[in-house]
Amino acid sequence: EPEVTQTPSHQVTQMGQEVILRCVPISNHLYFYWYRQILGQKVEFLVSFYNNEISEKSEIFDDQFSVERPDGSNFTLKIRSTKLEDSAMYFCASMSAGEPQNEQFFGPGTRLTVL
Protein backbone atom coordinates (compact mmCIF):
# COMPACT_ATOMS: atom_id res chain seq x y z
CA GLU A 1 0.00 0.00 0.00
CA PRO A 2 1.47 3.40 -0.93
CA GLU A 3 2.28 5.70 1.95
CA VAL A 4 3.53 9.18 2.76
CA THR A 5 7.07 9.24 4.09
CA GLN A 6 8.80 11.95 6.09
CA THR A 7 12.40 12.65 7.01
CA PRO A 8 13.94 13.04 9.44
CA SER A 9 11.88 11.30 12.09
CA HIS A 10 13.42 13.54 14.75
CA GLN A 11 15.19 16.86 14.33
CA VAL A 12 16.90 18.73 17.14
CA THR A 13 17.97 22.29 16.47
CA GLN A 14 19.06 25.42 18.25
CA MET A 15 16.75 28.40 18.48
CA GLY A 16 17.26 30.71 15.51
CA GLN A 17 18.45 27.99 13.17
CA GLU A 18 16.77 27.05 9.92
CA VAL A 19 15.27 23.61 9.47
CA ILE A 20 13.86 21.84 6.45
CA LEU A 21 11.39 19.04 6.95
CA ARG A 22 10.96 16.71 4.04
CA CYS A 23 8.02 14.71 2.81
CA VAL A 24 7.42 12.37 -0.08
CA PRO A 25 3.69 12.31 -0.79
CA ILE A 26 1.91 9.44 -2.49
CA SER A 27 2.92 9.58 -6.13
CA ASN A 28 -0.38 10.26 -7.88
CA HIS A 29 -1.70 12.70 -5.30
CA LEU A 30 -2.27 16.31 -6.22
CA TYR A 31 -2.97 18.04 -2.90
CA PHE A 32 -0.39 18.42 -0.19
CA TYR A 33 -0.62 19.64 3.37
CA TRP A 34 1.42 20.36 6.45
CA TYR A 35 -0.01 20.10 9.95
CA ARG A 36 1.61 20.36 13.34
CA GLN A 37 0.77 18.98 16.74
CA ILE A 38 2.28 20.41 19.87
CA LEU A 39 2.66 17.75 22.56
CA GLY A 40 -0.68 17.06 24.21
CA GLN A 41 -2.60 19.39 21.93
CA LYS A 42 -4.73 19.02 18.84
CA VAL A 43 -3.55 18.67 15.26
CA GLU A 44 -3.36 22.12 13.66
CA PHE A 45 -3.48 22.94 9.97
CA LEU A 46 -0.56 24.95 8.62
CA VAL A 47 -0.78 25.08 4.85
CA SER A 48 -2.21 23.41 1.77
CA PHE A 49 -0.50 23.28 -1.60
CA TYR A 50 -1.88 22.55 -5.04
CA ASN A 51 -0.63 23.09 -8.57
CA ASN A 52 2.70 24.40 -7.30
CA GLU A 53 1.28 27.11 -5.14
CA ILE A 54 -0.17 27.63 -1.69
CA SER A 55 -3.94 27.30 -1.78
CA GLU A 56 -4.60 28.08 1.87
CA LYS A 57 -2.59 28.86 5.00
CA SER A 58 -3.40 29.35 8.63
CA GLU A 59 -2.42 32.24 10.88
CA ILE A 60 0.32 30.02 12.27
CA PHE A 61 1.99 29.92 8.86
CA ASP A 62 3.73 33.28 9.07
CA ASP A 63 6.73 34.64 7.20
CA GLN A 64 9.15 32.28 8.90
CA PHE A 65 7.49 29.32 7.18
CA SER A 66 7.69 28.37 3.53
CA VAL A 67 6.83 25.33 1.46
CA GLU A 68 8.25 24.05 -1.75
CA ARG A 69 7.86 21.20 -4.15
CA PRO A 70 11.38 21.23 -5.60
CA ASP A 71 10.88 18.22 -7.84
CA GLY A 72 8.19 15.76 -8.77
CA SER A 73 8.34 13.83 -5.57
CA ASN A 74 9.40 15.93 -2.57
CA PHE A 75 7.39 18.44 -0.58
CA THR A 76 9.29 20.47 1.99
CA LEU A 77 8.49 22.74 4.90
CA LYS A 78 11.16 25.27 5.83
CA ILE A 79 11.24 27.14 9.11
CA ARG A 80 13.71 30.00 8.71
CA SER A 81 14.45 30.98 12.28
CA THR A 82 13.13 28.45 14.73
CA LYS A 83 11.61 29.44 18.05
CA LEU A 84 11.15 27.38 21.17
CA GLU A 85 7.41 27.29 20.50
CA ASP A 86 7.99 25.62 17.13
CA SER A 87 8.75 22.39 18.97
CA ALA A 88 6.08 19.97 17.80
CA MET A 89 5.30 17.00 15.60
CA TYR A 90 4.98 18.08 11.99
CA PHE A 91 2.82 15.94 9.76
CA CYS A 92 2.74 15.98 6.00
CA ALA A 93 -0.39 14.75 4.23
CA SER A 94 -1.44 14.22 0.66
CA MET A 95 -4.70 13.60 -1.09
CA SER A 96 -5.86 12.54 -4.52
CA ALA A 97 -8.83 14.07 -6.26
CA GLY A 98 -10.61 10.82 -6.80
CA GLU A 99 -14.12 9.87 -5.93
CA PRO A 100 -16.07 8.62 -4.04
CA GLN A 101 -14.30 9.93 -0.99
CA ASN A 102 -11.32 12.17 -0.59
CA GLU A 103 -9.19 11.25 2.35
CA GLN A 104 -5.91 12.75 3.42
CA PHE A 105 -3.06 10.34 3.93
CA PHE A 106 -0.72 11.38 6.71
CA GLY A 107 2.95 10.61 7.09
CA PRO A 108 4.50 9.37 10.33
CA GLY A 109 5.62 12.85 11.28
CA THR A 110 8.85 14.65 12.15
CA ARG A 111 9.39 15.50 15.78
CA LEU A 112 11.06 18.92 15.91
CA THR A 113 12.77 19.89 19.13
CA VAL A 114 14.03 23.46 19.41
CA LEU A 115 16.52 24.08 22.21
Binding site: V43, A93, N102, E103, G107, R111
Partner: protein
Protein backbone atom coordinates in the same frame (compact mmCIF):
# COMPACT_ATOMS: atom_id res chain seq x y z
CA UNK B 1 -16.68 24.44 8.76
CA UNK B 2 -19.21 23.02 11.15
CA UNK B 3 -18.23 22.89 14.79
CA UNK B 4 -18.19 19.43 16.34
CA UNK B 5 -18.55 18.25 19.93
CA UNK B 6 -17.50 14.81 21.12
CA UNK B 7 -16.67 13.28 24.50
CA UNK B 8 -13.16 13.86 25.78
CA UNK B 9 -12.59 10.24 26.73
CA UNK B 10 -14.16 6.79 26.81
CA UNK B 11 -13.01 3.61 28.48
CA UNK B 12 -13.83 0.11 27.30
CA UNK B 13 -12.86 -3.50 27.80
CA UNK B 14 -11.58 -5.78 25.09
CA UNK B 15 -14.32 -7.38 23.04
CA UNK B 16 -16.89 -4.68 23.73
CA UNK B 17 -18.46 -2.39 21.19
CA UNK B 18 -17.51 1.27 21.50
CA UNK B 19 -19.84 3.98 20.26
CA UNK B 20 -18.62 7.56 20.03
CA UNK B 21 -21.22 10.22 19.32
CA UNK B 22 -20.34 13.52 17.71
CA UNK B 23 -22.66 16.53 17.64
CA UNK B 24 -22.59 18.87 14.64
CA UNK B 25 -25.71 21.00 14.87
CA UNK B 26 -24.62 23.45 12.19
CA UNK B 27 -23.78 20.91 9.50
CA UNK B 28 -24.30 22.27 5.99
CA UNK B 29 -26.13 20.53 3.17
CA UNK B 30 -22.96 19.64 1.28
CA UNK B 31 -20.95 18.59 4.34
CA UNK B 32 -19.77 15.04 4.85
CA UNK B 33 -18.86 13.51 8.19
CA UNK B 34 -15.41 11.98 8.43
CA UNK B 35 -13.68 10.13 11.26
CA UNK B 36 -9.95 9.85 11.77
CA UNK B 37 -7.94 7.76 14.24
CA UNK B 38 -4.60 8.74 15.75
CA UNK B 39 -2.22 6.52 17.67
CA UNK B 40 0.44 8.15 19.88
CA UNK B 41 3.30 9.68 17.90
CA UNK B 42 1.66 8.83 14.57
CA UNK B 43 -0.24 10.81 11.99
CA UNK B 44 -4.03 10.65 11.87
CA UNK B 45 -5.54 7.92 9.76
CA UNK B 46 -8.83 8.03 7.88
CA UNK B 47 -11.38 5.56 9.20
CA UNK B 48 -14.72 6.22 7.56
CA UNK B 49 -16.82 8.87 5.88
CA UNK B 50 -20.53 9.26 5.32
CA UNK B 51 -23.30 11.63 4.34
CA UNK B 52 -26.44 10.03 5.70
CA UNK B 53 -27.89 6.77 7.06
CA UNK B 54 -25.31 4.09 7.67
CA UNK B 55 -21.87 3.36 6.29
CA UNK B 56 -19.87 0.27 7.15
CA UNK B 57 -16.37 -0.82 6.28
CA UNK B 58 -13.96 -3.39 7.61
CA UNK B 59 -12.98 -1.18 10.52
CA UNK B 60 -16.09 0.61 11.73
CA UNK B 61 -19.66 1.67 11.15
CA UNK B 62 -20.97 5.20 10.96
CA UNK B 63 -24.57 5.95 11.85
CA UNK B 64 -26.06 9.26 10.76
CA UNK B 65 -29.69 10.13 11.66
CA UNK B 66 -31.98 11.84 9.20
CA UNK B 67 -31.39 15.35 10.59
CA UNK B 68 -27.59 14.82 10.35
CA UNK B 69 -27.01 16.91 13.46
CA UNK B 70 -25.05 14.11 15.04
CA UNK B 71 -23.24 10.94 14.07
CA UNK B 72 -22.04 7.85 15.89
CA UNK B 73 -18.86 5.96 15.15
CA UNK B 74 -19.19 2.33 16.18
CA UNK B 75 -16.13 0.17 16.74
CA UNK B 76 -17.17 -3.49 17.03
CA UNK B 77 -15.39 -5.78 19.49
CA UNK B 78 -12.48 -3.51 20.29
CA UNK B 79 -9.01 -4.79 21.07
CA UNK B 80 -6.12 -3.21 22.94
CA UNK B 81 -4.78 -1.90 19.64
CA UNK B 82 -7.87 0.26 19.20
CA UNK B 83 -6.63 2.52 22.00
CA UNK B 84 -6.29 5.85 20.20
CA UNK B 85 -7.75 9.31 19.77
CA UNK B 86 -10.75 9.45 17.44
CA UNK B 87 -11.63 12.67 15.65
CA UNK B 88 -14.94 13.66 14.10
CA UNK B 89 -14.65 16.18 11.27
CA UNK B 90 -17.35 17.82 9.20
CA UNK B 91 -16.81 19.51 5.87
CA UNK B 92 -17.37 19.39 2.14
CA UNK B 93 -15.35 16.77 0.32
CA UNK B 94 -14.96 18.91 -2.75
CA UNK B 95 -13.21 21.69 -0.93
CA UNK B 96 -9.79 19.99 -1.12
CA UNK B 97 -9.00 22.04 1.90
CA UNK B 98 -7.71 21.75 5.38
CA UNK B 99 -8.92 19.32 7.96
CA UNK B 100 -9.84 21.03 11.21
CA UNK B 101 -9.25 18.71 14.10
CA UNK B 102 -10.83 19.18 17.48
CA UNK B 103 -9.59 17.63 20.69
CA UNK B 104 -11.00 14.24 19.72
CA UNK B 105 -12.09 11.39 21.96
CA UNK B 106 -9.41 9.39 23.76
CA UNK B 107 -10.52 5.76 23.77
CA UNK B 108 -8.70 3.48 26.18
CA UNK B 109 -9.23 -0.25 25.86
CA UNK B 110 -8.17 -2.43 28.76
CA UNK B 111 -8.02 -6.22 29.11
Amino acid sequence: LAKTTQPISMDSYEGQEVNITCSHNNIATNDYITWYQQFPSQGPRFIIQGYKTKVTNEVASLFIPADRKSSTLSLPRVSLSDTAVYYCLVGATDSWGKLQFGAGTQVVVTP
